[in-house]
Amino acid sequence: MAQRDFISAVREHQPKLHRTACFLAGDRREGGELLQDTLLKAWLGWDESAARDPMYPWLCGILARCREQRQRGQKASATKAMAALPSDSQTALLWELVGSLPPRPREVFVLRYAEEMNVEQIAEALGETPATVRSRLGEAHAQVGERLRRAGIGKPRP
């Protein structure tokens, strides 16, 4: 498949990929940059990936690697995310939660809740083992749960 066909092939994935990029980056503008980085890398490596099916986990893997590369020179800021996204208090809390997670658990967390992938799909996308994914998800849950508990969300019924 030629590179010319790449855009049409990824067109259906672009909105979801942009959403995940925004969650990973914690910022819409940064998410847009991350999306372009991801698609550029996918475009350049399109020939060898032509046989990939399904395509979306592969794109998510590229997205996670691009995020990691971009993050080396900058640090995600929850306040920046809150300022960039019009939201109510609960949405702001969500961005704060996502932005406060370490990079690896954040990838798993976003793919789990934003993309609604299961453990095996996340493992395939990130090139990790399911056990590693479960461990990182547990790490993310522990941190997020503590923050939500302090916010009074999800209080167990007496």
Binding site: Q14, H18, G31, L94, R112, N118, A142, G145, G154, P156
Partner: protein, 338 residues
């Protein structure tokens, strides 16, 4: 399932519905049930919030076109695109430098680890080999024996009589001035073999830092072979006097192994080093001799008294044939101070 396993499984809960085993445990354990309920409520909240934000983001998603990607590709900073080539160039350069260094060491006959280990195993090298290396090379340089290519045209530093040093020989002007400290630690055996008084030694001994050069004489095995030996005094780590020797050989077979042997105080043959010649048939090697039996400064320089190993210095080929010998006993140039 115990509580610890249940709570770990709850934390790592990835599906909307917990496993039956976890539910069964939560029914029997109040604490675990509370943790599980809290986690499930957190997940509900998270899914709802993610769904809300996702809907907004999906609606605002930009459309990336091929033109945008091409434009982004053009805007990539040059270092990003040049980085692989830079790494490749650096790697190639390092390989070239390593190769050149290896070639230099091989062709100039510097003792490598294997030769050094061999010398040590033959009980002829000393623990000061490594420390003496620099001094040996310096001595060889001062005596003009460190460049094999220049040596074939270099005349031996002897007169036609054969046993006298030529004061006008090349390198004479390069010899350093005597050091009083060096003279004080050198002892010369008397004719009877006894040690002289320090004052006498200072008067009769050559300055210990002054290198001396001797020529190798070829045998019938390889008539065109030749070489030089540079000898200088050095103080061992324990303060005792000693000597160090560097030599170069030329006119030998290319890339062939040769053994340099001497003799100890009891005329027993001692292997001093193994060398491998380069493609031109030349080799340069340092020898450290600080603790060799009979390897005193006086024996080496004066060539008198007890059998000195330097006077029996010989180069043998792989078959054991003698190809080079020290042609005569060197004579000390030092004169007694009136």
């Amino acid at each position: 399932m115990n509580c610890k396993e249940a709570q770990l499984q709850t934390l790592q809960l990835a599906e909307a519905r917990p496993s039956a085993e976890l539910i069964a445990h939560a029914r029997t354990c109040k604490g675990c049930r509370r943790v599980l309920e809290e986690m499930l409520q957190h997940q509900v909240w998270l899914r709802r919030q993610f769904a809300e934000v996702s809907a907004r983001l999906l609606a605002e998603a930009p459309t990336v076109t091929e033109v945008m990607l091409r434009d982004r590709l053009q805007r990539l900073p040059p270092p990003s695109r040049a980085r692989p080539m830079a790494w490749a160039a650096a790697l190639a350069l390092s390989v070239a430098v390593a190769g050149a260094t290896g070639w230099y060491l091989k062709t100039h006959g510097k003792s490598g680890p294997q030769q050094a280990a061999s010398a040590v195993s033959k009980k002829t090298a000393t623990n000061a080999v490594a420390r003496a290396g620099e001094k040996l090379r310096a001595a060889a340089a001062r005596a003009g024996v460190s460049k094999p290519k220049a040596k074939p045209k270099q005349k031996p530093r002897k007169t036609a009589k054969g046993d006298e040093f030529d004061p006008d020989a090349p390198g004479k002007s390069l010899k350093p001035q005597p050091s009083p400290d060096d003279a004080a630690v050198v002892k010369t055996p008397t004719a009877a073999g006894g040690a002289p008084a320090p004052a006498q030694a200072a008067m009769t001994q050559p300055p210990s830092s002054e290198p001396r050069s001797f020529a190798f004489a070829p045998t019938d095995a390889i008539p065109t072979a030749g070489g030089n030996v540079a000898v200088t005094a050095q103080q061992a780590a324990d303060g005792s006097p000693g000597i160090s020797v560097a030599m170069n050989l030329h006119g030998l077979a290319a890339e062939a192994a040769y053994t340099i042997v001497g003799a100890d105080a009891s005329d027993q043959r001692v292997v001093l080093a193994d060398v491998i010649t380069d493609a031109n048939g030349s080799a340069t090697t340092p020898l450290a001799t600080g603790t060799l039996p009979g390897a005193s400064w006086s024996d080496a320089m004066a060539g008198t008294g007890s059998p000195g190993w330097l006077r029996q210095l010989t180069v043998l080929d792989a078959a054991g044939n003698t190809v080079l010998t020290v042609s005569q006993s060197p004579k000390t140039p030092a004169q007694p101070v009136p």
